[in-house]
């Protein structure tokens, strides 16, 4: 292989695979027709870099998150889901004792109700920000007769249905009552139930994220979503603070409760609580940093400026 041929082949390989699938052959011919000067090499290297930084979905097959606002919205959504899972674990952990603790300790109750209020606010904010995105993605997909977006958006209800059926199966067939099965069977059933829920949540989150990443939605919809995403993130900050406060108050007023092994896995409440707070903190930090990047993106903060690439 001559040096020129090898160089042209190397230059072509600098481009992403999907780009080469679409333009590779015609671009290779063009490279053969152009003399291989340092300018040409430099120009192609920059072009390849551009194609990697900002891929062009001319084939509709590339999973892309071209716009920072879109990336931010998806990141906040994923962080919120992780936060919700930690919150549900917290609620599951204390649900048998919450009435007793709240009744006897008003400050514990206050922290608990702040957490619940924050959860409602965050949920509403995610719905306000997320539903227009889902609607726009679905409407555009139906116009373009794309199947992938509706199929991906169908994953959450299907996953929920699967989990509900599993719940019914576990509750009525595997472990119909506490007395009828051994502790180990009950433990396995519980772990399966929780594991299925987490799997369903992960599958749903991934499917929605991929759908939103692929969908042709106007940048203005994502810019609008930044507002509710901010509210959701602030609610996450408040909720994290509330859970930490809850733990500190319980530690001060009911220390025996934190060291008790009343969790489903027979480990101490404090160990669970620390894990849940860690997930909440990480989720909140990820959401906050994604938001900052979203606001810093061109056209992200003010809604003015760059309309970006219209179709993506």
């Amino acid at each position: 292989m001559s040096l020129a041929l090898a160089t042209r082949s190397w230059l072509l390989r600098l481009y992403p695979t999907v780009w080469r699938e679409r333009y590779g052959e015609e671009f290779a011919v063009l490279l053969e027709e152009c003399s291989l000067t340092p300018f040409t090499v430099f120009d192609v290297v920059i072009g390849a870099l551009d194609a990697r930084i900002e891929p062009h979905d001319t084939t509709g097959r590339i999973l892309r998150m071209l716009q920072q606002t879109r990336r931010s919205a998806i990141t906040v959504f994923c962080a919120w889901i992780a936060f919700v899972l930690a919150g549900l674990a917290f609620n599951q952990m204390i649900e048998d004792d919450v009435r007793r603790l709240n009744g006897a300790h008003p400050d514990i109750a206050a922290a608990y109700y702040v957490l619940m209020g924050g959860a409602v606010v965050a949920l509403l904010a995610v719905l306000v920000g997320g539903l227009p995105v889902a609607y726009a993605a679905l409407r555009r997909a139906l116009t373009d007769r794309r199947r992938d977006i509706p199929l991906l958006l169908a994953v959450p209800p299907v996953a929920l249905a699967v989990w509900l059926v599993s719940t019914w199966f576990i509750a009525n067939v595997i472990a119909p009552s506490a007395k009828s099965v051994s502790d180990s069977t009950r433990g396995i059933a519980f772990v399966s139930w929780v594991g299925l829920f987490i799997l369903a949540a992960i599958a749903s989150t991934a499917a929605v994220s991929v759908a939103v990443a692929r969908a042709e939605v106007s940048p203005s919809v994502f810019r609008f979503a930044l507002g509710p995403a901010t509210v959701a993130t602030l609610a996450m900050v408040v909720m994290t603070g509330a859970v930490i406060a809850w733990g500190l108050i319980v530690h001060s007023e009911v220390p025996a409760y934190l060291s008790s092994n009343t969790t489903p896995f027979k480990t101490s409440v404090s160990a669970h609580l620390i894990g849940q707070i860690a997930v909440m903190l990480v989720g909140t930090l990820i959401a906050a940093s994604a938001l900052i990047r979203g606001y810093r993106a061109p056209g992200g903060a003010s809604g003015a400026a760059t309309p970006a690439m219209g179709v993506i």
């Binding site: 063009l30 192609v44 072009g47 106007s218 179709v311």
Partner: protein
Amino acid sequence: MPNEPHEPNVPNQPDDLSDLGRFSDPSLLILASLAGGSKHGYAMIEDIAQMAAVRLGPGTLYGAIARLEQRGLIAPLPAEDRRRPYRLTAQGATVLREQLAALQAFATTGLRRLAIN
């Protein structure tokens, strides 16, 4: 004669090329080149070099082609001997006309001011 592909289904686009960043000038040159008839990559480079005394590199050319195709301003035609020609779409012609009209207005104003001074 090969069938021409349908106009790409794209949403309404802004009526300028300013959001194409460093590719806005090459994009305008490509649109102007294709206004004279469909061409493949090398023919575009030669035509633009003759028309505007600017020689686009292959990387710049295809960076702009990908963007223009995605926006539905140009459309690929069936490949001919590994070369793929592109044609100007109706939307591309509209954008080109608006861009050239804006440039003409700019040039007219500038020349008028020069004449006054």
